[in-house]
């Protein structure tokens, strides 16, 4: 099971090539928003960059929140998305604790599917696909213990890295 990781985002120069690639290749769009990965500045260019990407939860709060089966749990973490089942209700984006889901103006969700196609467009090798060992799903009550509506975690590289990254 592989997941996209912004493991070296501290090298990021803010070129948005990754987002443009995901929009172009995965979503057939010309955009820097409607993509699985989005680059934010941490408050003006002088403070460096952060990436919004899916962390590959299991269980995935976004999938639980989805009232249809548009978003469903992917074994090993993250989700699968079926656009034709999507009601554009936006509940998934609200449920994601790390704001990894982008809603466009029609409330279509955009989330990383961990395909890795953005990686070769990063000039500074910030991104990689990481093998994550098979594991038991986290206990659902561990995640539901937090009110995910109000929780908005920072998504800097340090926070998106698995602990063994350092």
């Amino acid at each position: 099971m592989k997941l996209l990781s912004a493991a070296h985002l501290d090298r990021c120069i803010g070129c948005h090539s990754c987002s443009l690639a995901c929009a172009r290749l995965v979503h057939k769009q010309f955009s820097w928003n409607t993509a699985g990965i989005r680059i934010k500045s941490a408050g003006g260019l002088s403070r460096g960059f952060e990436a919004s990407i899916c962390l590959g939860c299991d269980p995935a709060a976004c999938a639980s929140a989805c009232p249809t089966d548009a978003l469903s749990q992917r074994s090993g973490g993250g989700i699968k998305f079926k656009r034709d089942l999507c009601l554009q209700c936006g509940k998934c984006a609200k449920a994601c604790p790390v704001e990894a889901i982008y809603l466009d103006s029609e409330h279509n969700p955009y989330v990383c599917v961990h395909c890795g196609r953005c990686i070769s467009f990063c000039p500074h090798n910030c991104l990689e696909l990481r093998e994550v060992p098979d594991r038991e799903p986290d206990r659902a009550d561990d995640t539901s213990a937090h009110s995910t509506d109000s929780l908005s975690l920072p998504t800097s590289s340090a926070d998106t890295e698995p602990p063994h990254a350092h």
């Binding site: 803010g14 090539s17 057939k28 010309f30 409607t34 500045s41 003006g44 260019l45 952060e50 466009d104």
Partner: protein
């Protein structure tokens, strides 16, 4: 959203009424985008006989058809009437502005009118709002940026913040517009034009998305990938992302073509602490890129300063490049980055064009030493190599407490030299203070008579460095054709650093796969037409090539070729004057 391949979509904001209008501006096949689009809009909406600060005069921010669609297509052209020269001109900047405008859905943002209170403009794909920001009056560029970022915070990273400092509010003719902290519409005073509209800042939010244009996503993706590989894996762009443009400091010093101390010298052993390598090894904190550019040429230095005993330190991030180090380093006799970086930082905060400021202060320093002016005028001692005076001078220039500083800030070294004397050593070539190349005749003529009075109009400085014979016709032809090539790439709008990757044929191919088929066919002719239109607008707004001066100092300079040849220089000047007069009078073939 969908891109219309035939017309440009322009958001026209009238600051007087606070209302906006969307224009479908005809036709891309003629005006292309960027530089051409700005000129065509001025042709349609400007009044050449009005003064630069007439409220009806537009300031235009234009991107092009390829913006964001291909790598390094990142720049924005700002078209405006220059307070420094009075004439129609352009300045270019990157940062996130290009992609923000693109994904806000506009090919250009055109602003006219004058707000009744100090204002900030916010635009996005579904928003336009004028905010009263009276509380930002007199605020520096950095503080203003922090406040403006409150607008559209949810789109952090996908928006761009332009703002002016006190210099722009006070109408200095070389006030700049700061873009996203580290980039600028630097030259010729666009900041004062924003100030004249009571416009402190503009926040552009790129919150829209397009379907892939052109209908052949495979071809588009392939061409993108090829271009991406070329700019990231070939050596051609290396110099821009490695040491950056400061790489040129050492070789130009060696060639005796690097201006020092108001161009009294062209080489100095003190170079050792201002080489690109030294700056990178000792001061470089990190690099950044304009959005859409995988190269990342923005070099940011870490300036650590002690402000108190007991090891009290602060740190600042200061961007640097060749031109800044020349203008506010070597030109002022400063060769320690610990001196230069604070000057750059203060210049940024005031919202001044670093290059013009440095050259103007260099003139003032020499004028003071020669007794042409006294400390009664300058109020502080100015001496080459002494940083304290320069740091104080930046505030004096910005706030103009006396007639001397007022004059220097409105017209630069030329205006002050006309009043006080010392015209021979005012390092102004034609309409604007020099750039950092004392290379010879082609550069002097192209800067003095060039459309933007800049080293970027054409490669005159590299022409001087090649072993070309002194043939005025050949040199003039080179300036004309090189300018046309640059007009085209500046209409797409690509970064000049990638001009070798984007040949005419490559740009046509890009336009073709992205669905701009009509423009792809007319591109070469459109380039010529827009080159001619730009010259026509420059003449219509008061340009007289015969009046442009090349001061004596330039003729005294000795570089690796010796001194400039006055006969060849005059010959080239006459030939090039004829060429630009012909272009200005030519009828466009695509009208």
């Amino acid at each position: 959203m969908r891109i219309n391949p035939d017309v440009s979509r322009v958001l026209h904001v009238d600051m007087t009424t606070g209302k906006a209008q969307i224009l479908d501006f005809d036709s891309r096949a003629r005006h292309m985008g960027g530089s051409g689009l700005a000129a065509a809009l001025y042709e349609a909406y400007g009044t050449p006989s009005a003064p630069w600060d007439d409220p009806t005069e537009p300031i235009i921010f234009a991107i092009g058809p390829l913006t964001g669609l291909f790598p390094v297509m990142t720049k924005v052209v700002c078209g405006f009437r220059s307070p420094h020269t009075g004439q129609w001109t352009e300045s270019h900047a990157g940062g996130r502005l290009g992609l923000s405008l693109r994904f806000a859905g506009y090919d250009a943002l055109m602003i006219t009118g004058r707000a009744s209170a100090l204002s900030a403009l916010e635009v996005g794909s579904r928003s336009m709002q004028v905010h009263n920001v009276h509380y930002l009056r007199g605020r520096g560029v950095f503080g203003t940026g922090r406040e403006l970022r409150r607008i559209g915070r949810h789109m952090s990273g996908h928006r761009s913040t332009m703002r002016i400092g006190p210099a722009g509010e006070n109408g200095l003719s070389f006030a700049c517009i700061n873009v996203d902290s580290f980039r600028h519409f630097g030259r010729l005073g666009s900041g004062a034009v924003m100030g004249s509209k009571n416009l402190k800042g503009v926040v552009v939010t790129g919150d829209g998305a397009f379907e892939l244009p052109g209908g052949d996503s495979k071809a588009l993706n392939k061409l993108y990938k090829d271009s991406f590989m070329e700019v990231t894996s070939t050596s051609k762009m290396k110099k821009y992302h490695d040491l950056g443009t400061p790489e040129n400091l050492e070789p130009l010093n060696e060639l005796r073509a690097l201006p020092w101390r108001n161009l009294q010298a062209t080489s100095d052993p003190a170079i050792s602490t201002v080489t690109g390598k030294y700056l990178a090894e000792e001061y470089l904190l990190r690099k950044a890129a304009c959005a859409g550019c995988p190269v990342g040429c923005i070099h940011i230095a870490n300036l650590r300063q002690q402000f108190g005993e007991d090891h009290e330190y602060l740190y600042k991030q200061v961007s640097y490049d060749y031109e800044l180090i020349f203008a506010q380093g070597t030109m002022l006799g400063l060769s320690d980055p610990q001196d230069i970086l604070p000057v750059l930082d203060e210049t940024e905060s005031c919202g001044l064009d670093s290059m013009t400021t440095g050259v103007a202060l260099a003139w003032a320093t020499e004028a003071l030493a020669k007794g042409i002016i006294s400390e009664e005028e300058t109020l502080v001692p100015l001496q080459f190599g002494e940083v304290d005076g320069y740091l104080k001078a930046l505030r004096l220039l910005t706030n103009a407490p006396n007639e001397f500083w007022h004059t220097l800030g409105r017209g630069g070294a030329n205006a002050a030299a006309k009043k006080y004397g010392g015209e021979d050593f005012a390092c102004v070539l034609g309409g604007q203070e020099m750039a950092g190349y004392a290379t010879g005749e082609a550069y002097y003529v192209s800067h003095a008579l060039g459309f933007r009075h800049s080293h970027l109009d054409s490669g005159g400085y590299s022409y001087d460095q090649s072993d070309k014979p002194k043939d005025a016709q050949k040199a003039s032809d080179f300036l004309v054709s090189d300018e046309r090539d640059r007009v085209i790439i500046n209409s797409m709008v690509g970064c000049m650093f990638a001009r070798k990757e984007y040949s005419l044929e490559r740009m046509q191919e890009c336009l073709h796969v992205a669905g701009f088929t009509a423009l792809s066919d007319t591109l070469a002719q459109a380039g010529t037409d827009m080159q001619h239109l730009r010259w026509k607008l420059k003449f219509d707004t008061g340009f007289v090539p015969e009046e442009q001066t090349i001061p004596k100092r330039f003729m005294e300079v000795t570089n690796w070729k010796g001194q400039a040849d006055p006969v060849y220089l005059q010959d080239l000047r006459n030939t090039y004057t004829n060429a630009i007069r012909t272009m200005a009078g030519a009828q466009g073939a695509l009208e």
